[in-house]
């Protein structure tokens, strides 16, 4: 230990390189960096707000509607945070939607609800989280140690988890009867529904985890160059498992939120949610090939899509048009990002 400290100390005294060079033009470097990409997303979001305000006026621009947008964004948002980590590391998780369905079914089983009534509503939450994390663990072990391609492993989980949820529930809807649970999930804090708070907390925690911790550094390093990370001594396989567990865990949280919002558990919860999640993450600026991830971008991506849905609903537009618009936004955002990225220092690669 002492040896390391002296090395660090040496480095301190030996530091002569100028600090200024990379800060030479803060505006330009900010635009080129992640904040520049986020700026583009904020502009897109602002444009959507203008469209909403122009077409629906007061109906769109009021606090209640803002909360509606956020509430709609909250579940996809939470899961998107977990998936952002997986994608940043160069992986993919297609199973989160199905896993949500499974977690709601297991957590709302009569036996679980009975036990929760006898002990605490938290038991339902823990069961949902455990099921989500367990599914993630299976994904992670298959991918890291079984060398199954992530796309296939999580595709199998997508199909399998949905099937298991149908088997367990007998395809019936299981009503949540635990009053305390429902009360908590419907409660508000400072006038903001708890679902939105959960999204905010998960997003903040995710940002911190990705940008300020060794866990995040490992994630980005593995996504940037898996072999180099392995040869540098990073325990790549173990970390991959953690990442899929994390994604499963956020699916578990999503399951709890579904139970609260719909007051029922069913195997159809979260159907096709993985597509919205991946779209939001990619629009947000996280690279599908890994090595670059942005929580802020993911949050903005989720908000863009949920605002879009809201604007369309306000104008009584067909859901098919909605779907078409989302597809166009996805492609448009990626095209724009590539132009943005091309202006950055990455260009030197050529």
């Amino acid at each position: 230990m002492s040896e390391q400290k002296t090395k660090v100390a040496e480095a301190h005294t030996g530091a002569t390189a100028d600090h200024s060079s990379h800060k030479a033009n803060p505006v330009r470097s900010a635009l080129r960096g992640s904040s520049g990409r986020n700026l583009g997303l904020i502009i897109a979001l602002a444009l959507l707000f203008v469209v909403g305000a122009v077409t629906s006026g007061e109906r769109f621009l009021n606090l209640e509607n803002m909360l509606t947008i956020l509430r709609y964004a909250s579940i996809i948002g939470v899961v998107s945070i977990g998936v952002t980590f997986v994608i940043t590391a160069g992986g993919i998780d297609l199973s989160v939607g199905s896993v949500i369905g499974l977690t709601t079914v297991v957590a709302s089983l009569t036996s679980v609800q009975l036990a929760a009534t006898q002990s605490s509503w938290i038991l339902m939450v823990l069961v949902a989280l455990a099921v989500g994390a367990g599914a993630g663990l299976i994904n992670g072990v298959l991918i890291a140690y079984g060398n199954v391609v992530a796309f296939i492993a999580t595709l199998a989980m997508l199909v399998g988890a949905r099937g298991l949820a149908e088997l367990i529930s007998g395809r019936s809807t299981q009503i949540v009867s635990n009053r305390e649970f429902l009360q908590v999930m419907r409660s508000e804090l400072l006038g903001v529904p708890i679902l939105i708070w959960i999204f905010a907390i998960v997003a903040a925690a995710g940002w911190f985890l990705l940008n300020r911790t060794t866990f995040g550094r490992r994630t980005i390093a593995i996504g940037g160059n898996l072999e180099a990370s392995r040869l540098a001594g990073i325990k790549v396989k173990r970390h991959l498992v953690y990442l899929y567990v994390l994604a499963g865990l956020t699916a578990g949280i999503g399951g709890v939120m579904f139970l609260g919002r719909t007051t029922a558990g069913t195997s159809t919860h979260g159907l096709l949610l993985e597509l919205d999640v991946i779209a939001a993450v990619v629009v947000g600026g996280t690279l599908l090939i890994g090595g670059r991830g942005t929580i802020m971008g993911t949050v903005l991506g989720v908000l863009i899509f949920s605002t879009l849905v809201n604007v369309f609903t306000q104008n009584n537009l067909d859901t098919s048009i909605q779907a078409l618009a989302r597809g166009l936004i996805l492609v448009g955002a990626v095209l724009l990002q590539q132009r943005f990225a091309a202006r950055g220092p990455r260009r030197v690669k050529a």
Partner: protein
Amino acid sequence: MFEEDHSQPLLEVRGLTKGFAGVQALKGVDLQVVPGEVHCVMGQNGAGKSTLIKTLSGVHQPDSGEILWEGKQITLAGPTAALDLGIATMYQELDVVDGLSVAENIFLGHEKASGGVLQVKKANALTRALLERLGHGSLSPSTEVGSLSAANKQIVSLARALSRDTKLIIMDEPSAILDSGEVSNLFRVVRELTAQGIAVVYISHRLEEIRQIGDRISVIKDGRSTASGLSVTDTPREQLIRLMTGRDVENVFPPRQPLAADAPVVLEVEDLELDGHFETVNFTVRAGEILGFAGLVGSKRSEILETIYGARKASAGTVRVNGKPLRAGSVNSAVNAGIGLSPEERKSQGLILDEPIFKNVTLSTFERFARGGYLNERAERDAARGQITALELRPADPDRPARTLSGGNQQKILLARWLVHGTPVLLLDEPTRGVDVGARAEIYTLIRKLATDGTAIIVVSSEIEEVLGLADKVLVIDDGKVLTQTNASDIDEHGVLDLVMKGSAA
């Protein structure tokens, strides 16, 4: 001197400049290539050779300067424009598609087809003719390229260039991935091309090679031409080095230091085996000692190194660091015990190219700077800055992405990584691959200094001269067998090759 050259230049470049976000890569490059010559372009890494190549092949657009093709001024709007004129480029990282056949690769992008239907027979016949022209008629057009050696992939790449009406071929360090036999084969091919009137721009660091193959030389330093069109035969080596580096390079290898009598054995390798690769490897390395692995390509030198490091799982034997055995097949165990590896393929195995220098430097130590999982980037940056200063890494900006650095400086990042770690054992696989003459001496000095400071070092290189010049002790390896173990000063290149020949004959 060369003004008497009456042949009309095929390509003429005047005052070419090119800048990227804050970096002026080319500041004024002149070049004149005549048909049928091998024109060598030399320069240290970072001198701007790659940018020049990319400008000539239409990948980059110059900021100013002129490009003349057969006397007419041209602009190369993109790679296709260059190809259409007859300029083909063979990059260092070969751009062949492994999953396609030889013929499919050669006609990639201009497939032989009628009405959208591929004419396989015609393509194969044309391919055969092209390969004949290159003296490689034995290569089958239908072979999958992924199964070919690097040397044969180059031939495919060259055949592709010939498949278009090419007048100029730019070769970016083509010998870097070849062993000596393959290099002489390549030279034969190059001579056949020039005999047919095709001009070759040959990029290389290796002076000996340029002597063998080149007609004229142009030198670039710091993005500027320092010499243009010198005669290969009339220009002494010292002058070329001076033109490239701006200083005199005399002794490339630093002097060996006597080993302290009580220097402890740090690394012990006992009966190490990897099925199908190598058998019963035994040696020890003491603190302050540099051990070199000498052998030809395919001798399994890198495999031994990777097995010691745990990147491959040994089928038998033990590796001990300071007396403690390592867990076989565990890189983590090796790193924790204090072994660092600078891998053979710097870009794909060593660096995260889009991450800044400092994060690459601390890739195996960032957890030390963290507290309770919370990163301390300031301390990391400071540690990196300390190494940047100590190793004279350029540019000295810890936030610059690793991708933008030259080969020599990327190598320094890897050295810095293990210096910050403080490993007592360093394994260096091809530490000077893609590093030019001037920077090589610098890397050698650094390696020797690390040893003097007490690190036990193993150096693997495909250049026998480098191993013998740098190491204290040498293992001569052939086909996974250790032929002999001797002091580096007791053997020369000839002796090593002699042993290897005998070894494979037996």
